[in-house]
Symmetry: D4
Subunit: 168 residues, 8 copies
Amino acid sequence: MNAPASSAAPVVGVIMGSSSDWEVMQHAVSMLNDFGVACETRVVSAHRMPLDMAEYGAAAAGRGLRAVIAGAGGAAHLPGMMAALTEVPVFGVPVPSRYLRGEDSLLSIVQMPKGVPVATFAIGEAGAANAALHVIANLATTDVALREKLKAFRARQTEAARAMKVPL
Amino acid sequence: MNAPASSAAPVVGVIMGSSSDWEVMQHAVSMLNDFGVACETRVVSAHRMPLDMAEYGAAAAGRGLRAVIAGAGGAAHLPGMMAALTEVPVFGVPVPSRYLRGEDSLLSIVQMPKGVPVATFAIGEAGAANAALHVIANLATTDVALREKLKAFRARQTEAARAMKVPL
Amino acid sequence: MNAPASSAAPVVGVIMGSSSDWEVMQHAVSMLNDFGVACETRVVSAHRMPLDMAEYGAAAAGRGLRAVIAGAGGAAHLPGMMAALTEVPVFGVPVPSRYLRGEDSLLSIVQMPKGVPVATFAIGEAGAANAALHVIANLATTDVALREKLKAFRARQTEAARAMKVPL
Amino acid sequence: MNAPASSAAPVVGVIMGSSSDWEVMQHAVSMLNDFGVACETRVVSAHRMPLDMAEYGAAAAGRGLRAVIAGAGGAAHLPGMMAALTEVPVFGVPVPSRYLRGEDSLLSIVQMPKGVPVATFAIGEAGAANAALHVIANLATTDVALREKLKAFRARQTEAARAMKVPL
Amino acid sequence: MNAPASSAAPVVGVIMGSSSDWEVMQHAVSMLNDFGVACETRVVSAHRMPLDMAEYGAAAAGRGLRAVIAGAGGAAHLPGMMAALTEVPVFGVPVPSRYLRGEDSLLSIVQMPKGVPVATFAIGEAGAANAALHVIANLATTDVALREKLKAFRARQTEAARAMKVPL
Amino acid sequence: MNAPASSAAPVVGVIMGSSSDWEVMQHAVSMLNDFGVACETRVVSAHRMPLDMAEYGAAAAGRGLRAVIAGAGGAAHLPGMMAALTEVPVFGVPVPSRYLRGEDSLLSIVQMPKGVPVATFAIGEAGAANAALHVIANLATTDVALREKLKAFRARQTEAARAMKVPL
Amino acid sequence: MNAPASSAAPVVGVIMGSSSDWEVMQHAVSMLNDFGVACETRVVSAHRMPLDMAEYGAAAAGRGLRAVIAGAGGAAHLPGMMAALTEVPVFGVPVPSRYLRGEDSLLSIVQMPKGVPVATFAIGEAGAANAALHVIANLATTDVALREKLKAFRARQTEAARAMKVPL
Amino acid sequence: MNAPASSAAPVVGVIMGSSSDWEVMQHAVSMLNDFGVACETRVVSAHRMPLDMAEYGAAAAGRGLRAVIAGAGGAAHLPGMMAALTEVPVFGVPVPSRYLRGEDSLLSIVQMPKGVPVATFAIGEAGAANAALHVIANLATTDVALREKLKAFRARQTEAARAMKVPL
């Protein structure tokens, strides 16, 4: 396992099906880092490491994780399987696939049956960043300092949009 | 506004674009009730009541809501706009549309730009129930009793699946 | 707000969700300029500036706007929300999205529910130019000079098509 | 040609490719009638009556039409061809098709090339009603009384949405 | 576990995510029975019984299974996960889903990453029957009697098609 | 083989993959009968009768067929294979499939590689009738009487469309 | 009009909506030239030159055309409208569109209503070449020399395929 | 025919519709070679060499083939037709097509009717490799040495995934 991104005990696990997913998933880690939310990052392949995946799920709650962000592409089973393996809430990121551009990833993640939810976000980089932001918003409901950071982030984001000019 | 579904102050708002969405969205309310999570239920149309929607969003955090579950169909803007209006995390449910069966609803909800996330679930009844379950899982990360309820629910669900027989 | 594209009071507002939409939306502004229809151009993000958007909508009619052209991509909520916020007619342009090439943008804009219309055009540059042309055609129904300009434009367009040769 | 829906000279032409489209297109006529906007209704098949279609287009402006609402299904060419034949603005309604539920109709109408716009609305009944509402909104920009009617309609619509209760 | 469909030790496991998949999956069992290929039938939910699924996969080869036919719908993870859990070849059947008619099921099953294959068949009943026929064809490559049965089945099928008349 | 639909030597072969395709394909036969074009009708399954199909193709030209209309659904290979087997022009009809409503049929028929064309028509009944009409139009280029019939048919069709009224 | 591609009176008209379609449509002209079938080539825009299109259709039969090959992209109306304007058979080629890669073009061309057929071919270059080949096959049914050329072409094509080696 | 990839009598035939499919299909051959499974490789075009295809199918079983891997793109008929022509099990690989990226290939291969199965894999390179792996898994059910190789391959694959690090 890679070292946690910060020295604090991780409260968020960011997992992905392959190291090739990192280009997308780094946007989740980057956002968590910006907010000072301790996370760990790990490749957990549902199809090539199913037992490791099961162990990861079984240990997630006990290790103090309060969210798992899982990214995968194509027949993307990692988010849904992780949701089956732990009661810790799972946030899924559809990684764009080579030929179907993530339509397969999206449907494989979002169309979960009743009883085992995966919170799903947009295909690609935006989805990875937003999964992290949603985790932060959930954590912020019981963390005043984080909520203030989130509100400040959103205020800055609004100001940045307001400052946008088109190059007439 | 409809009365809260329980006498406790609601911690979850369940909103939808039209009363015709109730057939789907009742599955969210029913799940929250099963877990004893106090919620309120309200029709908030993004397109016909945009200012009410803005007020709802502005007041959500202050009123103690820790999650908003929003369902809509077609060009489904309610979940994304609510996410723009409050830092309370928003959980979106794509309601099936008449001709495109919810493909339009799903894309309108899940494909949010970086910075304003909506946690999206499956089209229809399963998605509504799962949005509630995901909210519960988030709440359960800081509520031991709720976590036990969730674990019990999942254990019963596993037993029910194990008991399934096919009619040979 | 950017200065109006001409010194006359703008009769058309051209808005977009991000400055990155300009590459597409400039085709609307360019067409309006060609016809001498005064317009203003502004970034109004539905998701990052929802209150500014509401103000823009509330003021649109009073400021003399007779049309709003709104472009957005992905979960494209700006056109539909603007249509909810003003009785000024709204013309929507689906901006191509990174992975789904604007299919999400198109459905998010065109599939509006009964009661709140958005006139929708083709994905991308052609749609932006055509939104402007449709606005011009509407204005021309009560503006003889503009109608003559439009007829001349169409006649030139016909001549240009007639003059096309294939390089045998 | 069917008689105009009101005794006044029609300002809107509502045309459709077949009488079987009436089930959808009546929602446009009904809306225009509610607003007292005089319209005529006619079957004009692009494929079976192309010369009549051309005549209709050639005469539209001279007859005082300020908008043409055109509905068609499948390979839906009527709206786009009408837009080619008159400078009067055309509003297209994708009528649901038997097997592809209007996806073909939508793409055939909305994806017009640069230079010849069709304002496109949702598939089916909602789209027909909204095409009419958009025409009304355009007419209302130079008709104070109609604008007041439109604002009243929108206010009533908002009230109706506000009054919606879910059957808890 | 349901009793094997015949008294012989099963060589094929037919599993499905829910008893509601039986309507489709019975076509696989029926075909195996017709050929006298011993099979067992069991509900194994990837999402509600992940550990049972892992056990099933771990034991499959040792128990003498030479093929696993797995059917599931929506975010259909059972076939791919079973393929991850055993070297016994897995044959996947996309069960039609409520709103997307099995498009989600198909993509979730067929788009497996390099290294972990699932042989995928048509959506629904035809796919279930064909998964069984393909298993039979594989078994027949080392079983002369079964190959003769298969050839006879195909010959009868050809004769039945040849005998088809249209009701002129 | 079914008897030819008329006593004259057939000039058109109407073939289909299964007798269940007749509900759609009868619209081709009916149109040919209306024009007095002699045809034969036969079930030729590409997948269950491949050698019969090859024989049919090999004999088509010598038997005097000037067109083959082929209908099939799902993975619809009959039209394309017939086009591979004879230089007689092939006209393909996508028969609606159970779950994908003919989208699979359409793509399987129309997307032929360079060198082996299939003229493809709309999904379902309209496509079957139109395949026959296109065959008739081709035959009519060297048959004055048939051309007159075709012109009369089209004139009647135009009159029928002109006579359509909407039930105001 | 461009000069005919050969000095003989053209029997095939190859038309397209814009000179930008030439990159695709040249594959039709090239094939016709290879077979010595006289054709003319012309840009006829349905949307920018609707009256020229009507004239082209009205004159087609009288000028001796026995087929019209029409290519267009996006909301591709040229093939269907030409089919409405002449009894000469029309062969449609879906030109790839910028964002939807020709899916819109395909549906706009193939989904014609009963009564007005367009023979449709694959998206892009293969479709253009195949439209020409299908025209040739139709002409060859009454032209022995052309039929021999077609059979020779097909035989050479078969030989070329047989000669293909993979670079092991 | 190309020489077998190894000197042993081939047990797997790898065929494809064109030499241009080799870029994808080489991943099947490479995998078979890695496992020491003797295969032959050949271009067999369903549409340009239908009789050669029929011969290939007729001889497959007698020549000792225990599996045929068939790749094709667009209207991909080779896998399904081969399945119609031999009782040897067929494994289909959807080769990406130019404009529709293999969606057409996938549906043309997977949606086979009841009675004639094609085991289908992912679009492109992953699908080619996986078709080979699935063949190997089937062969391994009666070949202890091959099963050991397969288990070793899977174990190495698991280790490789476990060793993946993200570049924090």
